[in-house]
Point group: C2
Chain length 221, copies 2
């Protein structure tokens, strides 16, 4: 086995701030990227890019997301708490630059939709703005904010109220073919990647080997 | 714009359990995958696969991870709470099947290392087992468990104590080239993907367009 480079905790703590942020943000691995759409109580739109959306449960369908209080998505947090509503929109290759630009620190009265050229789109049943250019769009209702006292970040918990996605990306067993939908992922603070499908595997059991299945859950011969 | 398929909340709630789980687990997008290594107080090893590791902060370096109480990683939770120590190890294409097999519901006295053929490896400064086949390995010290009362899941918070990674994957500005390290990502409950690099972009500011940079943070001409 080749030798890996060893970075100790004292070495991490001595890194310049931006270098440390790039390194530590790289550690989870590739990250889900979502554009989060909200409106304030006057109806003005806001859009931020999030890299820490996680699955919390399927019944009821709950997603969580980490928001730092001193970061750009703070307008997002204010809006979703005020209105109870937000959207999550997958990033696709066509809109990487616009999505990244949403992380710029715009004044509160500037809509990232207008600033980046992304298009707000509304469903008939959800008040928060979706991103028309996005191919997977999720309507969310705010439920709870958990404050993590240790370093001041927030875990925002919401429930899924509706989903829009390409019909051909939805498998017969509920699997969503994110590759077919063109969803991208991120790494560190500023890198964008397009995943290529490697394999889907059967439910693992202690007493038998796993086998490959397709996007509908059927065996691959 | 083409028409997207609309899934309402009542339709989600009426799905069969496994179909709903596949759909809702697909919603965050591509997910970081990590093998989590622990030992119990007798020294017996355990390894689980996690898909919800998130960045919480860089100074101090904190990572969070979601663990469901009734899921396979419950031995992981017991061990890291008992010993205060765990490891996170990136999944690479070579070990996708072994990593997936770690999600099988083995008895508590069976080590997933032995069951899957993955190799435990120890550093001189950290008591929990790393995965020798993994190219990015992170030593973690357990700090805190936050219980999410709403649906019984736990957010486990830990701090980074050491990092092992390929020297050539570490950029001059702290960026880790996960593509060079061969890190894979996941989607839904059972799919594995290998991301291809698309672009890295400069820090976004309201008053200027973003530009491409390389893995060392230098401009791409």
């Amino acid at each position: 086995m080749d030798t890996l480079h060893h970075i100790t905790r004292p070495a991490i703590d001595q890194l310049p701030r931006l270098e440390r942020a790039a390194l530590i943000n790289s550690l989870p691995g590739f990250r889900a990227l979502n554009l989060c759409g909200t409106r304030d109580l006057r109806g003005d739109t806001n859009l931020s890019i999030l890299s820490s959306v996680v699955h919390l449960g399927s019944n009821p369908p709950l997603l969580g997301m980490i928001i730092r209080p001193n970061s750009v998505p703070r307008h997002t947090l204010e809006n979703l708490e005020a209105t109870g509503s937000y959207t999550l929109n997958h990033l696709t290759p066509d809109i990487i630059r616009q999505g990244h630009q949403c992380s710029a620190n715009y004044p509160v009265n500037v809509s990232e939709f207008e600033a980046t050229g992304l298009t707000p789109w509304y469903s008939q049943s959800h008040p928060a703005p979706y991103v028309a250019e996005s191919r997977i769009r999720i309507g969310m209702t705010f439920l709870e904010r958990i404050d993590i006292a240790r370093n001041g970040v927030h875990l925002v918990i919401g429930e899924v109220t509706e989903i829009f996605l390409p019909r051909e990306a939805l498998g017969q067993d509920g699997y969503v073919d994110l590759n077919a939908a063109g969803t991208v992922c991120g790494s560190a603070l500023d890198a964008y990647h397009l995943p290529e499908f490697v394999a889907r595997l059967t439910y693992a059991r202690p007493d038998r080997p796993v086998a490959e299945i397709d996007a509908n859950g059927n065996p691959v011969s």
